[in-house]
């Protein structure tokens, strides 16, 4: 009885306290004012101190970098070393293998104040947002606005879903399009194509789908009963071509449009994309590959729900920190007329393309893809090329392994065979840091020059 009394008393006291807060909505606010004012200053000072660590313009220190003598150390760009990244290694290879989009890093350094974000210790601890979803509606709204500025996609009437980079969304889309089919779907992509379609589909293969290779082969096949899922990369990685699905509409087809590069940075935008499943990624829009945030626009309610299930089962939605930071980046993009990032990125990429083209044009041994000038919906005029990659071809008969030819000249590219074509081709990334790109130009210029000299020597010998 005594116990019951104590219990009841506790409740009454607790209830009274609740009522006190209800009646005094500003009590806690007052407490916060005392306790919570200036709480973010320490974090701000810490971040600013790290940004001031000198890495000679060839590296940077990070808040979560390795610490020596109480301070994070510089992490140097490829080919630079020493405590301040001031030591250049002359024999170091120009590594243009990966699509690491560091060419945009200087943009964010120039917009330090508007793009920084503070994460409070208690920020979004819950599994879900207040609408019980895993998706920040503010971020969704801002992403839709960025597409409206870029004029690269019709997002109205389509559901939006986030994934761990576009990578996870590719797998989620294959799952959603195949799960209810009566026989396993054949997953295809027209060559040359992004290697991960095959490696990821093989990796996660189950009884509902399997990778089947080149879409062009299937196009010409007489089998019209197959279930086909086609990856369509537009602009294409590696060659930058704008693409449409190639598999005949006569068979049961789902197309997954990978529009990672469908931004004014990399291509003219002839018209806004308007496919049923369209995938984008922050990696190639803002350059934040490490954020691991992609998004898909999905027209069909059922496919959308299945993709949502996939992300939920895989990891219960995407990091709230990644979403908050992405929101801040989108807000920075949308400042003013929202054109600045696109103009910066296009200028930089077209400038890189021109420099590279100038060198290759002097060579008979190498060629790169032709990229036509096209009318751009964003710039509202015809504009020249600015692709993410150079798709280099070794023209000499004996140069069947173009990657090896470049490697001998201290250039690391990505072999054509990875893109399901012959090794006469090699992909050179134009997306990396200024240091990487400048070293590529230096090495390529030397290769072309030597080559020229050798031809000259033979001619006169």
């Amino acid at each position: 009885m005594m116990r019951r009394f104590c219990c009841s008393f506790c409740f009454l006291a607790s209830l009274a306290l609740n009522l006190f807060f209800v009646i005094n909505p500003y009590y806690l606010s007052g407490w916060k004012k005392q306790k919570l004012s200036s709480w973010a200053e320490e974090a701000a000072a810490e971040a600013e101190a790290v940004a001031l660590i000198s890495c000679s313009g060839h590296g940077r220190a990070y808040l979560d970098g390795a610490v020596v003598d109480g301070k994070p150390v510089c992490e140097c760009n490829t080919c630079y070393g020493g405590p301040h990244c001031s030591l250049f290694s002359p024999d170091c290879a120009a590594d243009v293998n990966s699509g690491d989009p560091l060419f945009l890093e200087p943009f964010w350094m120039q917009h330090a104040a508007s793009s920084a974000v503070v994460i409070a210790g208690w920020h979004r601890m819950s599994y879900t947002f207040s609408d019980h979803s895993y998706i920040s509606r503010e971020l969704e709204n801002h992403i839709r606005r960025v597409h409206a500025v870029a004029r690269n996609a019709i997002t109205k009437g389509k559901h939006l879903i986030f994934g761990g980079g576009s990578t996870q969304l590719l797998a989620a889309a294959v799952y959603a399009l195949s799960i209810n089919l009566s026989s396993p779907a054949e997953v295809v992509a027209a060559v040359p194509c992004y290697p991960d379609y095959k490696t990821q589909t093989d990796f996660f293969e189950n009884m509902h789908f399997e990778y089947d290779g080149d879409a062009l082969l299937l196009k010409n096949s007489s089998d019209t009963t197959a279930n086909v899922i086609e990856f369509v990369t537009s602009p294409n990685n590696p060659d930058g071509n704008l693409r449409e699905a190639v598999v005949s509409q006569g068979v049961s087809v789902g197309a997954i449009y990978d529009h990672a590069y469908y931004w004014p940075h990399y291509t003219a935008i002839p018209a806004p994309a308007n496919e049923d499943v369209m995938i984008f990624t922050i990696s190639k829009l803002t350059g934040h590959a490490g954020t691991r945030l992609g998004w898909a626009f999905v027209k069909d309610e059922d496919v959308y729900q299945k993709m949502l299930s996939y992300i939920a089962e895989a990891e219960q939605g995407i990091s709230r920190e990644a979403q908050l930071r992405a929101l801040k980046l989108m807000k920075t993009i949308l400042n003013g007329d929202g054109m600045e990032l696109f103009e910066y990125a296009y200028k930089k990429m077209s400038d890189r393309w021109r420099k590279l083209s100038d060198i290759v044009s002097l060579s008979k041994r190498f060629s790169i893809q032709e990229v036509p000038s096209l009318f751009c919906n964003f710039f509202e005029k015809v504009r020249g090329p600015s692709p993410a990659y150079a798709w280099l071809k070794c023209e000499r008969n004996e140069d069947t392994n173009c990657t090896a030819v470049l490697r001998a000249a201290n250039i690391i590219g990505r072999a054509g065979s990875l893109f399901n074509v012959e090794d006469r081709y090699v992909r050179l990334s134009l997306l990396k840091s200024d240091d990487d790109f400048n070293l590529l130009l230096l090495r390529l210029d030397k290769l072309v020059t030597q080559d020229d000299d050798r031809k000259h020597y033979f001619k006169n010998s």
Copy 2:
């Protein structure tokens, strides 16, 4: 020839500029000092302003919340509403269904200054860290130190890998343990068990594994040729029991130890865990479920490499923002002697358990699990219970659906059948916010009291 000259000139100029930076390592630093000082202040002020929005202690405003009149609006706790979350809905149900660990939110509000972190616009844009991995070594080191303080795991000699919550690591571990088996692995867990083992294994089922139900059934089976992967949850969700694998060692077995709750918050730590595959999550350590960060300690090099491949194929590693924020939280935990979070969490959870036990002990209709007092390696003494969940049983014969009995009393729990046992059991989460927990006590007290009155009435009628 002119073109070649121009090209060479550009390179020489570029090289000269590079040399200038090499020779003047502090030039850029000076530029940074001008441009980059105070860049984080705006973000700090913005975060502090949002924290000052009054939500009456029954909600909070977030930086990425919906904006009305230029300010994020309050997001209220369940059962509270109005612009300042000051309106309580008296008929609202006590929702203790999910394991949302918001009981730790006040801890982080009290440690606002030490737990805030600033993410610069250019923070970790690359796909990889400088060691070409997807894993922050600083975070790894700090996680190992937290385990050393908690004395709950032997981490030396084991590889660490991050995943999208423990959720993704469960799937990665099943993949790694099954991929090379000659026949499909049977995945099991002893009942009552966490529902996601089955739903996730079914969802991602392929030719290498399938879910096979209760580990206890398999233990008694005569089939000694099966390949078995056993999930072992210790302490167990829902009942808090410390567990070992039950499947006989005679068959080919891989055990995945889910130690989400193996922290002093929820259980005595009889000895540090030392299994081959151990999975933890930040959700249940710091309460940051939304961060989606889990980690696994893996002894075997081959299993580790396969789990790494899984995370790489799925999404190329975990968000750098989540990793940076997790690092800051770990640093906050490790401040001083590193005991504060654990003491706070244990005190809160044991207090909740005591309050709930006091009410249930007055009832003959309901019972909850017994949790023995045990010696704890962390507190270095025998300590009482503080489980994450109450595993409530309806004792009356006719109360076969205990969830419905509670629902009628305005309490939302999770049905026993989800944990693969009868619906006479229901799980009540003790992890949620103070508002949720207090409402649970209020409703449960009323239910027990009414019940008692009814018994009393019948006795005298």
